[in-house]
Every structure is written in structure tokens, then in C-alpha cells.
Amino acid sequence: MSLTLENLSHRVDGVDFIRDANLTFQAGSFNVLLGRTLSGKTSMMRLMAGLDKPNEGRLIFNGQDVTGQSVQARNVSMIYQQFINYPGITVYENIASPLRLAKMAESEIDRRVKETAAMLQISPLLKRYPLELSGGQQQRTAMARALVKDATLVLFDEPLVNLDYKLREELRTELRDLFRERQCIAVYATTEANEALALGGTTTLLHEGSVIQNGPVMDVYRSPVNTLAAQLFSEPPMNMIRGRVTDTEVTFDEYSHHALTQELSKLTPGDYWFGVRPSHIALVPANNDDLEMSMEVALSEISGSETFIHIENSHFEMVMQLMGVHQYHTGAPVKVYLPVNKLFVFDSAEKLVHTPSRISGGAV
């Protein structure tokens, strides 16, 4: 069982929503669509569900062309960002509704509803109405309704954004467990790189309607095909610095000169983009070949137990992520260290040419 998107394009009023997408989703897989707002995640899901018809391309399910098939005829379910349930009927009836429409026997409906409710921990709420529940419970109801009918394709359109942080983490873990055993195709849209990493499975990077990269989550994370992919799949986005490599040294923006060490020495002379994740920039050197740069603090923001420091000099700016709460005053001079073994290198056409090789034992 698989779902294939073949040269799929969708346009509304002359605006491209999806551009020439080619993807295949396998049964039993968990797929994450990662992209910023307006990147086409929802549009793609709507095409997959059959809610919208593509302008071009085909949708192939199990080798069968299902492009024009109505949504009722497909066995899909979808969970929205808003908590969408039938307001006038109880939670029990909400969950039962797809089964009733499929004319299932009453005893089977009852068994399935109770089983699904237990799985999503809403058994005590079955007699209540959706609007009497908390946001998390409402979304659990929506999920139960989506899961109860054993759909072959389950679409999650940013289902957890409207929930608070704690609940989000909890539901995310549960969700992943729920799908481990299932033989359906799960597709999950999110704007957060961290969520994609937490969910695992396959990740598809979307940007302005185009598929940038697609593959197992770790492959995409560790070797982004280009600077855009690297920036999309890093929160905050990966820092990019322009640099020129000569036979002996690397110069960042004609400003900061460094000797070529380790893997960097394999680079052929030319112009490159150097990428470094915000969490890899350090205030103290870890190795003696770390690239030292003198910068100035432009802004320091504290988020939870982490601190993001925006640093700049006259040539480039970067963001660094520190664990713990730190206070830096704007304008304060800092020396930062970029570990050579954690640099991504992209050529002048922004294509990946080098990934950090020392990934064993350390995060990349």
C-alpha cells in the first residue's frame, strides 16, 4: 500500500500553491511535512485527501489513479489545527459518526468507539458534548474520530499548535506510539523543526509550494541538500556565512582569516557558504582549531531555560543558542568559537558540498 504524488501542481487565482511535487508515502510510515507558514503543507494535504483537485499531475494509490475521486469515496481522515467536532452530539456519537455512515453493526461500533476512546484516554468523557471539554480533550476527540475508522491515510494538519506546551509534548509522544503498530500512511504537518525531530519517521521539507528535500528524518537533518533545507530544518535557522577558500586559508566575508584545518583542507579553492547551527557556537573553545571570531552582542533573548544571543560585526551576523539563562548587554564584545568539525559547507549555488564527519558521539 502506498500513495504517490506524481508531478502534482496546484494553483489558485494564478498563485502557485504546490509546484510539481513528486513524493511517495509507504504504508505504516510516519511522514512529517515541515515548512513555514504558506509553504504548502495544508494545500498538499488537501490534495492528498481529495478536498482539492490538482491542476496538474496525478495521485496514485496502490497503483490506481485516484486523482478525481471524491473525498467520500476515499478512506482518509484528517485532523485540523482548530478543534473540529460535531457540536450538537456527544463525544461518543462524534467518534461513532464515521462508522455509522459506513453502516457498521451497532455492536462493532460500540466496541470500536470504546477501544479508541480508551486509547486516547477519553473514556470518561464519552457522554459529554465537545464544547464542554478542554482544548486538549477536544483534539483527542477529533483524533479518536479520525482513528476509529481505520483510514488508510491519516492527515494531521498542525494538530497541536493550539495546545499548551506540556500537553503538546504529551500528545506528540502518544501519537507516535499509536502509529507504531498501524499499517496506515500518517502524514503530519508542522512548522517546527523540533517537532519533526521528535516525531521521527520521514521528513519532507516544503518551501513556497516546492519539495526541497525528502527522506528519513536523520538523513535530512544531517545532510541538508542546500542552504534553504539547512535553514528550514534548524530552529533557530542555521547561520550562514559567506567565505572564500584559498590554498591555505579560509576568509569569512573578506574579514576573518583562518587556517584550513581538518576536513576543510579538502575544499577546493573558491567561494562557499558556511553553515553552523546556533547551538554549536560556543563562548569557550572546545578544540584549539576552533574558529575564533570577535563579535558584538546585538540582542539577547531568554526563552525558557535557553538563551538566544544575536551577535554581529560589521560583516555578518549570527545567532547562538546557549543552555541556561545568561544576560548579555547590547554592545558587549564577545569572542565566539565555531567548531571546524561541525561546519556545513555549501557551494556558491547553495548546494551541499560537505557535511560534518565527526557525527559519532556528538550531536550535529
Binding site: A49, Q72, M78, Y80, I84, G88
Partner: protein, 268 residues
């Protein structure tokens, strides 16, 4: 404290002012003609139900009510049947000239009914619809359908499109979704629309009177013809007026909560 008392005085005066004509109508309907013409009395001196008895026993009177109610009910039903799908289309789909059409619907309301009097009269006479209930109901639809579409569209827009999609994903066919899921969600809107449609049709006199003669004559028209040889029968006329108010009051009572919601949505 002092301020709230002065507020209360104001509102009491206002209500008294507004209700005086209604009271006077009721007052008159329980009096005899002699008392009405005899002088000013705040309460009926000789309380009588004769005026009401006349209306409920004389077919030419009570048929007026039946006629009015018949075409009003027809009008409300037709309007809702037509306006619900139309409003759904306006709220959910994009089509050629949708915005212009929507505005044109509303501008229909700007024309006074008298404008359409002659065309309706001529048309209905030539196709044999003259003096039938459906004739009046259809004529009123010209005014009530645009209003209904306008009000309903506002309510329907308040329901996120995701509900429609969710229902289709669950396997609902469109008609089933529309009746079982969608209509219950906008029932306040339907209540408000029915109310305004009812009100228009119930109080509209010009078209209703012109397009009927005997068989479908509305109560309003009958009330204007009570001048007999002995002069105007004030008592019966008052009783007829009092009875005319009752359906309106009943309808307002049933939709009072929904109307407030409709006002909140800014479409009423």
C-alpha cells in the same frame, strides 16, 4: 443610587410612551361602540367580548386571518428553501460575479414594493394566479429572499469550512451533511431569517391587497373595508387590530434569543 433611579424613571416613561397605543387598542377592543364614541375612558366601563365574537364567527373576518397566515407561511417556507442553498453558495464558493450578485440581491431591497405592483398585477392576471395565496407569497419572495440570503450568509460564514470538509471526510454526502450537520449549526440564523421574513410578509399590505380580491384577501385589507352603512365599527376594528399583533408577539417570543445573536453578527 440616585442615578439608577433616574434611569429607571426614564425607561419607565419610555415604555409607557411606546405601549400607550397598544394599550389603547386593547382598551377599545373590549368596549362597546357607544362607549368608544361617548368619551374618554381609561378602562372599559362595560367590558365586552362581543367584538371578538364577531371576528371569530363571521367568515369574512376570520378568513382574512387564515388567508394572511397561509400566504405568510408559504412565503417563509419558500424563502428558506430558496435562500438556504443560495446563502451556502455565497458563503462557500467563488463564482463569476459572486460579489456583484450578492450586492445586487441587497439592492433589490431598495426598491419600494409599489414599483413592482403593476408588473405583478398584470402578470398574475394573465396566468391565472390573481387572488391566490401563492401569488402573494411569491410576490413577497422578491423582497424576503434577498434579505434571507443576506442574513443567512452571515451566519454560514461563521461556521468554519473545516466542518464541511470534516463531514465529507467522515463520509457524509452533501445533502445529508447539509441537513444533519450544517442546518443544526446555524439554527439561530434560520430562526432570525424566518422571523424577518415573517415580519415583512405579515405587515406588507400594498402587494397583498392589490394581488387579491376575495379568496385570498389578507386581514389588513379587510380591516380597511369596515365602513358600513352605520359608519365605522370601532370596536370590531380594534379587536381585529389586537388579534393582528398576536402572531408577531408569538414569533418574537420564540426567536428573541436568536435575534440578539443575529444582531451580534451584524447582519440584521
Amino acid at each position: 443610587m440616585k442615578q439608577s433611579r433616574s434611569k429607571n424613571v426614564g425607561i419607565t416613561l419610555f415604555i409607557a410612551f411606546v405601549l400607550t397605543p397598544v394599550y389603547w387598542l386593547l382598551n377599545m377592543s373590549f368596549k362597546t361602540n357607544q362607549e368608544i364614541l361617548g368619551g374618554l375612558t381609561l378602562f372599559p366601563k362595560t367590558f365586552t367580548l362581543d367584538n371578538y365574537a364577531v371576528i371569530f364567527s363571521d367568515p369574512s373576518w376570520y378568513n382574512g386571518y387564515l388567508n394572511s397566515m397561509t400566504y405568510v407561511a408559504m412565503n417563509v417556507v419558500i424563502t428558506l428553501l430558496v435562500a438556504l442553498p443560495a446563502a451556502y453558495a455565497f458563503s462557500r464558493y467563488k463564482f463569476l460575479g459572486d460579489k456583484h450578485l450578492f450586492f445586487w440581491l441587497l439592492s433589490n431591497r431598495m426598491a419600494p414594493p409599489a414599483v413592482f405592483l403593476m408588473p405583478f398585477f398584470q402578470l398574475y392576471s394573465s396566468i391565472g394566479l390573481f387572488d391566490t395565496h401563492i401569488a402573494v407569497a411569491l410576490a413577497h419572495c422578491l423582497f424576503t429572499v434577498p434579505l434571507a440570503v443576506w442574513i443567512l450568509e452571515g451566519f454560514m460564514k461563521g461556521v468554519p469550512r473545516e466542518y464541511d470538509e470534516m463531514a465529507f471526510i467522515d463520509g457524509y454526502s452533501f445533502p445529508r451533511f447539509f441537513i444533519k450537520v450544517f442546518l443544526p449549526m446555524i439554527r439561530s440564523g434560520i430562526g432570525v431569517t424566518a422571523f424577518f421574513t415573517f415580519m415583512f410578509s405579515w405587515v406588507e399590505l400594498l402587494l397583498a391587497r392589490t394581488l387579491t380580491s376575495v379568496d385570498a384577501q389578507p386581514i389588513g385589507a379587510i380591516m380597511t373595508r369596515t365602513i358600513g352603512a352605520s359608519g365605522i365599527d370601532w370596536g370590531v376594528l380594534s379587536a381585529a387590530g389586537a388579534l393582528t399583533i398576536i402572531p408577531g408577539i408569538l414569533v418574537i417570543w420564540f426567536v428573541r434569543n436568536h435575534v440578539a445573536k443575529g444582531f451580534a453578527l451584524g447582519r440584521v
